[in-house]
Point group: C2
Chain length 578, copies 2
């Protein structure tokens, strides 16, 4: 069965299964979602109105046995940034969609009867629509249980919690992972777009698919072996990440003076020890959790984990550095277990860990709670955000809107999206990515931390301006391409340092489709994607003035290096000279 | 004494009194505030941060005996729109500043000690600074009493209430009028900018000034006579406005099908009779109020009024159509007395009547209150907005942000500012002004209602697109110039219909300064101002995508004419072809 475009119209509750247009054939993941959004969505439309579209697309290698190829992309016009958004996720949806032959799922329109929510079930050449009033007001784990009961343990499930129903800017789309836990299409409020279309849940049938066809199985196998070896032998993807998860970064960033602390007032935190990856790994080992865990089938990095409480009870999995930083250093919670409970709660509700965490850092400035009061943060999520009280609506709007409502100046956002866990004044290459990314502040869009701090792909001094624009540009181009393959972003580490890695990735794509891409083709794909996204944003009303970090970072000195953000507008604008 | 620029630095609590640069000499009012903001404020700065400036400038004819010349302009980068803002006001401040020789008052920086608020007293070549902890948390009438006690009944007073202290987007700067009541620098959150600078109140000494010098008193007197006659003989400025105030418009717009009703769902309201100007005038007459009242000395139109309650008790003055429409047709309150009490409350707090009223229309869609529940609206202003509860913060952020927080699509704003009392689908010329104005949706920026509905300056069919771009352009250019003279916008009616009016206005300016402007010079001044404002906005990050009405107006039909907003982007963009 050849791949098809599944197109759903919520206004008519109808669908069509279409041949893949020739110009979309070589695209997958982010490349496909961004090109579809750029071609089909009016950039001036309201993100929650009838003219936005929600697009899912597995990566080019998803559904194959290639290591770490299980990422699914979701795209739309973002209600948070007002620009284009792509967010990719692990879990089981990419593999199942790819094997079913769903090249992309495009969801259009708003239902005429918006008095309830709907469940969409995608199976072979078919989409079914069910009103699910019984699931309205429920959160993700309850929806997941319901669907696993209705279908099978293998069905792919994408759902929203109450924040998505309420169309909050920090709402995610949550995706079932192989262990029955949840991963997230995070950032940019994609859950709000799904909520605006009154879709509570999408399931994808895992029974009717067949294995993905490989044009040249021998070549694929060989390239796959080289690629897997590169991942396993790299010290970061092969050792650091498996041992401590992404939380390996707390100590590293703290030492580098780039760990944003107390809403970006310092680059180091005196209590980092309490929340660092080493402490986390000790807890896991002592309490019978798992230090390694894959977010999708075929992952050889296993940076995820299962984190249990003191009594050995399950608390959360996929416990990431960004979350631990946001509630730890940035909001002052010293109790890692409490942060873990917040993490699990956020999974259940489907709210973005970075946006929610950073909003709490700013909420301290707004007088809503005190530094370190994790109990109150937990309650605000469980009672206010989940139920949409006025305070919950405020927090649910994200950091930028909170700043607007409380007249605050020290608001760490770019294009309305919260800045993640690396202070751009002390990790300047990352700052260039935050400023220029088409996605708003986003560490994954071009992870310059790799070369600024981790010495992957050489070294560019994090405190100096020299070389940062070029570094961020090259990484963003490469990332846009990698995000199209279905590969996890952490393949970047071997790709930057092992000359065999990228060619093997290209060989796998060639073997899968029987084509002959070169490394340059892949670079050009990344360029094409970035330019399409940028053009969409310009038409949507974003300008170079949006490619800026918050003004306070230009005049407020960050200890311990006592640095400011010193790129000029013209320097940042030169990012787009390619 | 020649005019001077008074420049205040809140960071140093210092000031300078500077000669007027030659290139600013011919400017006043909006022309001066906008040129100063465009020249001195970084368009990318945070509106509430240290690099925004708050500028006051009386009009070119303020301080003279010219009829209706008592408008004072205030400018800054707006925290509501993110673009430039000018807002002019009646009251006594323009005349007093002009007579004191204050060409402009420029306030820069943020105080180092921001633990309290300050009072600035401007007198002859001097600015004094007083910490006023005793006024923190007080509203405008209490501040006014305090200052009238400290100085004299004649002192000019500009102040903010608690919403300004809290830097809410709907905060105004309030100004004492000749009757001891309040007028407002409304729209765009200028009160929040004043609050960010920790200024509770500015007073301007009314004792040390001398009369404004007139270069050619005879010529001035003669031109003034012609100008006054034109104002008095025009049927709108001479009869309609004095008889019914601006509220004469309720019945007119209702009949025209352009009275936005229930958050812009219809163009006519079945209860318009209860709130119209005729009903208002009857109440005033029966209860011993005043149907005519000038907002500033020298006003010959007298469209303001004093509105008393059933027992003859004072409720409010300056009770405008926009307010009555917003709480009436748009939010469903049928009780004019209750709307009047809300109006008086809004004066005391210093919140924008349009932004606050429109936010309540949308708040119904958000489920915060019900149509017609004026009692609840009153309480939400008095208890929540005034005290900054979470719900008060939400409402205080304005309509655009409320829409963001509740995921609403039918949000009537342009550039984040609420659309006023004329539905653009049924008054298309006004819609062009809303879309293209540098100020965000603003009826005063180019009042096409005049020619679309009131047949002033000819007639352009309100329901057709033909001629509207040109109409809105010509009106916006003329308005930018008029806003520089210190003249009230209602001089537009005789100016459009009486060929003697505009030349007399130009003659007064020439006689005042001993110069020889022509009508073309005045048009060119308007063009210069608009272009400077537009250039600032583009640098601040606004684009043609911001020159658009809300998308829902393109697909949602407005009864009774069953019209949509049908201008293309390219048509709107052609507005700037001059």
């Amino acid at each position: 069965m050849s791949d098809k475009i599944y197109r759903v119209n919520m206004a008519t509750m109808g669908f069509s299964v279409e041949d893949v247009p020739a110009e979309w054939a070589g695209l997958g993941g982010r490349g496909l979602t961004s090109i579809i959004v750029a071609e089909e969505v009016d950039p001036e439309c309201h993100p929650l109105g009838p003219n936005n579209k929600l697009v899912f697309a597995p990566g080019l290698l998803s559904g194959t046995s290639a290591a770490n190829s299980g990422r699914n992309s979701c795209g739309a016009k973002s209600p948070l940034t007002g620009g284009i958004k792509e967010s990719n996720v692990g879990g089981t949806s990419a593999g199942i969609m790819a094997k079913l032959g769903v090249k992309a799922l495009i969801i259009e329109g708003l239902p005429k009867d918006d008095s309830t929510f709907y469940h969409l079930h995608v199976s072979k050449e078919k989409v079914e629509f069910f009103a699910v009033p019984e699931l309205v007001g429920k959160n993700n784990y309850e929806v997941l249980d319901y669907m696993l009961e209705k279908y099978s343990k293998k069905v792919a499930v994408m759902s929203i919690g109450t924040p998505g129903e309420m169309r909050m800017n920090l709402a995610n789309i949550s995706v079932k992972d192989p262990g029955g836990k949840l991963r997230s299409h995070g950032r940019g409020g994609l859950g709000a777009v799904m909520g605006s279309k009154k879709i509570k849940c999408i399931t994808v049938d895992a029974e009717s698919y067949k294995e993905t066809t490989i044009a040249d199985p021998e070549k694929f196998k060989e390239a796959s072996k080289i690629f897997t070896k590169a991942l396993q032998e790299n010290p970061i993807s092969g050792q650091g990440l498996p041992a401590f998860g992404t939380n390996v970064l707390v100590n590293i960033l703290n030492e580098a003076g780039g760990l944003p602390t107390r809403n970006f007032r310092s680059g180091s935190w005196e209590h980092a020890e309490n929340i660092c990856g080493e402490t986390m790994a000790e807890n896991i080992k002592a309490r019978g959790g798992k230090t390694t865990h894959g977010c999708h089938a075929g992952c050889v990095i296993q940076c995820s984990q299962v984190y249990n409480g003191p009594e050995g009870e399950y608390i959360t999995s996929g416990f990431e550095y960004e979350t631990i930083w946001a509630y730890g250093a940035n909001m002052g919670i010293e109790d890692l277990d409490l942060i873990a409970r917040i993490d699990g709660l956020m999974d259940d509700l489907g709210v973005d860990a970075i946006e929610t965490g950073v909003v709490f850092g700013l909420a301290v400035d707004a007088g809503i709670l005190a530094y370190g009061d994790g109990k109150r943060a937990y309650e605000l999520i469980a009672n206010d955000i989940a139920k949409g009280t006025p305070l919950g609506r405020i927090l649910g709007g994200g950091t930028h809107v909170l700043g607007k409502l409380y007249g605050l100046v020290r608001v760490p956002t770019v294009k309305g999206q919260s800045i993640p866990a690396y202070d751009p004044r002390a990790v300047k290459g990352q700052g260039v990515t935050y400023a220029t990314s088409t996605m708003g502040a986003d560490h994954t869009a071009g992870y310059a931390v790799a070369t600024n701090i981790l010495n992957s792909g050489g070294h560019v001094d994090p405190l100096k301006k020299e070389g940062q624009i070029e570094l961020a540009r090259n990484l963003q181009i490469a990332t846009a391409a990698v995000d199209s393959t279905g590969m996890c972003i952490f393949v970047a580490f071997p790709a930057l340092d092992d000359p065999a890695c990228l060619p093997a990735l290209v060989d796998m794509i060639n073997a899968r489709f029987g084509i002959n891409l070169t490394g340059d083709d892949v670079t050009n794909l990344g360029i094409k994607i970035l330019k399409a996204e940028h053009a969409f944003n310009l038409k949507a009303g974003l300008t170079s003035a949006d490619d800026r970090l918050p003004e306070f970072m230009k005049y407020e000195v960050l200890p311990p290096h006592n640095v400011v953000w010193d790129f000029t507008g013209a320097e940042l604008d030169s990012f787009w000279d390619f």
